[in-house]
C-alpha cells in the first residue's frame, strides 16, 4: 500500500531543508513557495530516503484569484507519495518554475497546462501549445474562458 504522506509529514520533510519554503499546510498536501519549487523538487528527488523519483501527474486549477499547480509525487523505491502545490498569481502571465530538468515526464504535462490553462513554466525547453494550435485565442480551461466564435479562429496551420 502506498503510504500517502499527509500535509504535516510533508511539511516536516520540506522544512528540514527549506524552513521558509512552506506557504500553507493542508490536510493531505502542502503549498510551497513558487520560487523555491525547483530547489524543493530537486531535494525531494535526490535525497535518499525520500527519493521521489516518479512524478505521477501535474494538474493545475484556476481559483480565479490565483492558479494552483498540483504535483503528485511518488517514490517507486520507498512506495510513498506526496502532494505539493504551488500558487501562481496574476492572470496575464502566471509563472511557475519548470521541473522538466528533474522529471522528464513534466515535459508534456507542463506543455498541456500551458496550453489549456495558460500557466507559463519558466525554464521549460520547448514551451509551446500541445493540444491546440498556435494562434488559438485564450486558454480554454480558465474559468473566464466562456465562449469563442469559431469563425474568428484561424484554421490550424502546420
Amino acid at each position: 500500500m502506498t503510504k500517502e504522506l499527509d500535509g504535516l509529514t510533508a511539511a516536516e520533510i520540506v522544512a528540514r531543508s527549506f524552513p521558509d519554503g512552506i506557504v500553507e499546510v493542508l490536510a493531505s498536501s502542502i503549498v510551497i513557495r513558487t520560487d523555491l519549487l525547483a530547489e524543493v523538487a530537486r531535494y525531494l528527488h535526490d535525497t535518499p530516503g525520500l527519493s521521489f523519483n516518479y512524478l505521477e501527474g501535474i494538474a493545475s486549477v484556476d481559483y480565479i484569484d490565483y492558479f494552483e499547480v498540483v504535483y503528485n509525487l511518488v517514490s517507486l523505491e520507498e512506495n510513498h507519495s506526496m502532494v505539493i502545490k504551488v500558487q501562481a498569481y496574476g492572470r496575464e502571465k502566471p509563472e511557475v518554475p519548470s521541473v522538466v530538468s528533474i522529471w522528464k515526464t513534466a515535459d508534456f504535462q507542463e506543455r498541456e497546462e500551458y496550453d489549456l490553462m495558460g500557466i507559463v513554466f519558466t525554464g521549460h525547453p520547448n514551451l509551446k501549445r500541445i493540444m491546440l494550435w498556435e494562434g488559438f485565442p485564450g486558454h480554454p480551461l480558465r474559468k473566464d474562458f466562456l465562449e469563442f466564435d469559431h469563425r474568428n479562429i484561424a484554421p490550424a496551420g502546420d
Binding site: L76, E77, E78, N79
Partner: protein, 392 residues
C-alpha cells in the same frame, strides 16, 4: 528447333500447316505466335480473376471469416465486380508529378510481367518460344521489373513513394543474386538452360526439389522477395510507407500494378513448379490428367502457398531483409554451387545426390543461421517474473 513453332499446339499446328501454302513464312510466324499468345491470354486473364478471388477467400478463411461472398455464388463474381468498379474510378494525376513517367510506369510494369510467360512450358512442346537460353531470358526479363517500380515511385513526387522505390531497387538488387545463383546449381545438374529440358531431366531422374533442396529454399525466398509479398513487402508496407511506390496511383493505373503483381506471382509459381516440381509431369501414380492441367494445378498450389505465407507472417524490416539476402542466401548459394559441381563431376547416383543434398541443406541452414544469426533472437528465453523487487 525451328519446327517447335509448328507443333507447340495441335490446333495451332493444324492451322499453320493449312496456311503454310498460302501465306509467306513471316506471316506464318505471326499467325502461330498470335494463336499462342491468345492461348496464353485465355489462361492468364481468367487466372487473374481466379487468383484474386482465391487470395481473398483463402485469406478470409485463414482469418476465420468468410471472405467475399456477396457477389455471385461464394463471391465468385467479386473480382469481376472489382474490375468493373476500378475501370469506372476517377483517375487522379496529382499536381506535382512527372506526368510522362507517371503515365508510362503502369504500362511498363506490365511488359516484364507478361514477357516471362514466353518461355514457360505448359506441357511438352506447349511453349510459346522455346529459347535456347530459356531460364536466362527469364531472369533477364524479370530483372527489368524494378524499372517501372522506380519510375512509379520517383515520378510520384511523394516521399513515401520514393522511399518505396528506393527500397524496391535495393531489395531487387539484393535478391536477384541468390535467385540467379540458385538457378545456376539447377542448370549444372540439367546442363541446359531450356526450361523444357529441365522438366525432361526431372522425368528421367528425381524431381528437382529432392535433388536441390537448398536451391529450392533460396529460390523460394528470393522469388517471394522479388514479388514484394509478405513477409517481404517492404516496398509497399502499408503500415510504414502507406502504399510505397504506388501511393499516388488511382483508378485503372493503380489496377495495372495490381494485375502485374498477380501475373508475377503466377509466373513465379509456374517457374517453381517447372524447375523444381516436375512441371507438367504428373505425380507418380495419378497419370490420368493431361499434362498442362497438372502444370496449372501445380501453379495454383504454389499460389495458395504464397497466400498462406502472406496470411501468417509479419513483415520483415528492410535491413533484415537485405541481411537475409547478402549474409544468408548468397553464401549458401555459393556453397551449393560448389557442392553441386563436385557431385556432378563425380557423377553420383541421383538418389545419393538427393540424400546428400537434403542433409546438407538442413545442416547448412541450421548451422549458418546459428553462426550469423542474432542468437538472442533465436534462443533467448526471457523470464517475466518480478526479479528485482522495487518496493521494499
Amino acid at each position: 528447333m525451328n519446327g517447335d513453332i509448328h507443333n507447340f499446339f495441335n490446333i495451332d499446328g493444324a492451322i499453320v500447316s493449312a496456311l503454310s501454302g498460302i501465306l509467306p513464312a513471316w506471316a506464318l510466324v505471326i499467325v502461330a505466335g498470335l494463336i499462342g499468345i491468345i492461348a496464353l491470354l485465355v489462361f492468364l486473364v481468367p487466372s487473374q480473376l481466379a487468383t484474386i478471388w482465391i487470395e481473398r477467400k483463402l485469406i478470409g478463411r485463414f482469418q476465420i471469416r468468410y471472405g467475399p461472398n456477396r457477389v455471385g455464388l461464394f463471391g465468385l463474381l467479386q473480382p469481376l465486380a472489382d474490375a468493373v468498379k476500378i475501370v469506372g474510378k476517377e483517375s487522379i494525376t496529382p499536381a506535382g508529378v512527372d506526368k510522362w513517367v507517371f503515365w508510362l510506369a503502369p504500362i511498363v510494369t506490365f511488359i516484364p510481367a507478361l514477357l516471362v510467360y514466353a518461355v514457360i512450358p505448359f506441357g511438352p512442346n506447349l511453349i510459346l518460344a522455346d529459347l535456347d537460353i530459356g531460364i536466362l531470358y527469364l531472369i533477364s526479363i524479370s530483372s527489368l521489373g524494378v524499372i517501372p517500380v522506380f519510375m512509379a515511385g520517383w515520378s510520384s513526387n511523394n516521399k513515401y513513394a520514393l522511399l518505396g522505390a528506393m527500397r524496391s531497387v535495393a531489395q531487387m538488387v539484393s535478391y536477384e543474386i541468390p535467385l540467379v545463383l540458385s538457378i545456376i546449381s539447377v542448370v549444372m545438374m540439367t546442363g541446359s538452360l531450356k526450361i523444357g529440358e529441365m522438366v525432361s531431366f526431372q522425368a528421367d531422374n528425381l524431381w528437382m526439389f529432392l535433388l536441390q533442396p537448398l536451391a529450392l529454399l533460396i529460390f523460394f525466398i528470393s522469388a517471394s522477395a522479388e514479388l514484394n509479398r509478405t513477409p517481404m513487402d517492404i516496398v509497399e508496407g502499408e503500415s510504414e510507407i502507406i502504399a510505397g511506390y504506388h501511393t499516388e496511383y488511382s483508378g485503372f493505373k493503380f489496377s495495372m500494378f495490381y494485375v502485374a503483381e498477380y501475373t508475377n506471382v503466377l509466373a513465379v509459381s509456374a517457374i517453381l513448379s517447372a524447375v523444381f516440381f516436375g512441371g507438367w509431369l504428373s505425380a507418380p501414380i495419378l497419370d490420368l490428367l493431361p499434362a498442362w492441367l497438372w502444370f496449372i494445378a501445380k501453379i495454383y498450389f504454389f499460389f495458395c502457398v504464397f497466400v498462406w505465407i502472406r496470411a501468417t507472417l509479419p513483415r520483415m524490416r528492410a535491413d533484415q531483409l537485405m541481411g537475409l539476402a547478402w549474409k544468408f542466401l548468397l553464401p549458401l548459394a555459393l556453397v551449393n554451387i560448389l557442392v553441386t559441381g563436385i557431385e556432378v563431376y563425380m557423377n553420383l547416383h541421383p538418389l545419393l545426390i538427393s540424400f546428400i543434398n537434403i542433409a546438407l541443406a538442413i545442416g547448412l541452414v541450421a548451422g549458418w543461421s546459428e553462426l550469423i544469426g542474432n542468437r538472442a533472437v533465436r534462443n533467448e528465453r526471457r523470464q517475466y517474473i518480478p526479479v528485482v523487487p522495487v518496493v521494499r
